[in-house]
Symmetry: C2
Subunit: 113 residues, 2 copies
Amino acid sequence: MRPLYHPALEDITVQGLLYAMSDPIRVRICAELAQAEGTMNCAAFLPNGKTKIPKSTLSQHFKILREAGLIRSERKGVELKNSSRCPELRKKYGPMLTEILQAYANEGKESKR
Amino acid sequence: MRPLYHPALEDITVQGLLYAMSDPIRVRICAELAQAEGTMNCAAFLPNGKTKIPKSTLSQHFKILREAGLIRSERKGVELKNSSRCPELRKKYGPMLTEILQAYANEGKESKR
DNA sequence: TCCACTTGTTCTATATTCCCGAACTATTGA
DNA sequence: TCAATAGTTCGGGAATATAGAACAAGTGGA
């Protein structure tokens, strides 16, 4: 198993961030982690009732989020502790990420009405 | 030639917007149009010196931007008048788009240093 | 120590999407 | 009517995404 790559703050690109966030599964992961204020393992997103996402697919999504710079993952025994890099990113990009997550959140609310 | 489809403001999704903006060519188009305050035809992006983009590719990019809701295109004789929908989008999403375009613009500046 | 179990990654095949040249449509102006 | 211009559509090869299967690595109990 190769080590987990995390880009330095200055190597993160807007393009990478937006691409990573242009997928509903990834943005959900991103939003949950940003709210969590702590860490979550990957499997936490698997048995979410409604959507059965194969774990190989999930693994890819986490990799994309990680390499885009949106999340940080540390191996802790057999599992992965994922945390949001949004606080760092806010220093570089200001309220951009917050606005995007907010927009997604509002959209979710509307569709439930 | 089928008519140009433009989503209504309420049918525009964050996912569609972010996907459309996760491509360097499209975001450049988007940024130029947003700044232009007027309209531009597609061909204006073709002979931009450095990058030679085939027009079939450009046509696809404009279509994606249009169907994501980022731009509006009207046939005017043989050409297309493209304009930014950012003002409308700001009403729906607040400063999100502005923040994203700003972030791209800053990135451009940094890379030139 | 051995082994079953859990979490996540890698491999591989299929499916989907993207890119770009070529052919095409539609409009204008000579 | 015909050539020129601006975009679109089509088709095939390249790149990407998805998901099942095999694998790797750590944990804990017998």
